[in-house]
């Protein structure tokens, strides 16, 4: 479904991503794990065309994305939950969800999707008319995910959904990730919390200073000694 081929990304002169290639197949949950500054977010932003690679291509369902404008990717079925949630703080929860559904014209079937999101995240329903800036960090993360789901994506890019959340909330968020997977959405998950990420993922790539140093099945990587040592705290 998603194919990243030999991309190089620079921030001015800093070579942030070095010759990275990986694939995400339909129905999979793939995770990119790595330390802070390894380049995980940069890769997601490159896929979303917020950043341009200096070399290499990104293919979505076989089509290169190079000719498209960044905002057109949603129309293809890609949704990106950015790092740090980035909800529209002054807009209400409902309005944020509406923005998630910005590209959709099928008003009648949207109702069901709102309900679906409210069953995932009942707390959002209670706070529907509240400005989203007044939500807690966990609620904002739920909203950011819900907002992305409103576009009915085939591929969901999730950037550090557990960042800055209490352990209980982290668990809740990862449960939702699993539910979303079961609904048939393909997920590319970027995480620092390698333990949690590997538990929900099918496959994983380990990123270190802009390069992929290891890849494989998530279960295998959970047992891998070097991964354990570097990312799983033992």
């Amino acid at each position: 479904m998603l194919k990243v081929e030999n991309i190089d990304v620079y921030y001015d002169k800093i070579h942030a991503i070095k010759d990275v290639s990986f694939t995400v197949k339909q129905g999979e949950v793939v995770t990119l794990i790595g330390a802070n500054g390894a380049g995980k977010t940069t890769i997601l932003k490159t896929i979303s065309k917020i950043l341009e690679p200096t070399r290499g291509v990104v293919l979505f369902e076989g089509e290169p994305l190079s000719k498209l404008l960044p905002h057109q990717l949603v129309y293809l079925g890609m949704a990106h939950v950015p790092e740090g949630r980035r909800v529209f703080a002054q807009m209400t929860v409902k309005e944020n969800l509406e923005m998630g559904a910005y590209i959709r014209k099928d008003k009648s079937s949207m109702k069901a999707d709102y309900d679906q999101i409210f069953t995932y995240f009942p707390r959002l329903k209670e706070r529907m008319n509240q400005p989203s800036g007044t939500l807690s960090g966990g609620e904002q993360q739920m909203l950011a995910i819900g907002r992305a789901l409103m576009s009915k994506p085939k591929l969901l890019l999730l950037d550090e959904p557990s960042m800055g959340l209490a352990p209980l909330l982290v668990k809740e968020i990862f449960n939702i990730v699993q539910t979303i997977k079961k609904q048939g959405t393909t997920i590319l998950l970027v995480e620092q919390n390698a333990n949690q990420a590997l538990q929900v993922a099918d496959r994983a790539y380990v990123l270190e200073t802009g390069k992929i140093i290891k890849s494989g099945n998530a279960i295998e990587l959970l047992e891998d000694d070097s991964v354990k040592k570097a990312y799983l705290g033992g």
Binding site: S48, I50, H71, A79, V87, M99, Y102, I103, R147, S151
Partner: protein, 320 residues
Amino acid sequence: MMAITAIIFHLCITGMLIHTIERIGGSCLILFLQQLINGLSVGSIYALIALGYTMVYGIIKLINFAHGEIMMAGAYIAFLLAVNTNLPFVFVLVIAMVLSAVIGVVVEIIAYRPLRKAPRISVLITAIGVSFFLQNLALVLFKADPKIMPELINKSPITIGPLQVGTVTLTTLFLSIIFMIALDLFVKRTKPGKAMRAVSEDKEASILMGINVNRTISMTFAIGSALGALGGVLYAVMYTQVFPTLGVLPGLKAFVAAVFGGIGLIPGAVLGGFVIGMIETFTKAYLSTQWSDAIVFGLLIIVLLVKPTGILGKNQKEKV
């Protein structure tokens, strides 16, 4: 010399006080009400223009110094239509607003869009450049001498009890309020309006929603310019003149109004516009015609000293 000035000043104050005391009664109240309506009417024009400043600032953090010139363009378009055609006022107004919106969008695409990633100061300087360009273009096209704006609105005053209110004043107030309500509904209820607010808050996140950010910015310029043109036409009708620098002073005052209310906030621009219009009208009526501008701008300084974010502005850190 100093002493003489002081005495004169003293006499003036005393005179004014006596004058005021004498007028406490019916006629005083009528004058006050009349000035109140005038103030609201002038204020509504400032509010209309201030909306353009504040919307553009909200979305691309640019003080669009060319906004006053868009207003002037609107006034000239209305003038040309009024002189050369027999179109009724409503059509003149609509055409002026639409054409000014086009001018505003063209300016944005040609002058500001290429600088989207440039430092803010570059865009600001460009805006000042565009302002001078449009002013001088008008100077070349229409010459410097003021033209008399034809009577687009029937000038005969309406009498409400003891009050006499000009039709222009009422029309201005009425039209301004209608458009402000329309804008409020647009921004709060419609999808493009909400997208506009989303882009103002976070461009990158808006792109991820599938919002075409450039088109949204153009739309903001179009709406701001149309409202500015409406303000310009009403201003020209009210003061019965059009000239190339028509937009400078009301533009500046509207900018003050926008900052006063809290720049970037739509209700702030409306509030600021009305407050500035009222202060100006009342100082002109009760204090001094010559000092009114000084008082308006002095007030801005005080507001900025006490509350730098404006009346409705919240203290929030600027995101980088």
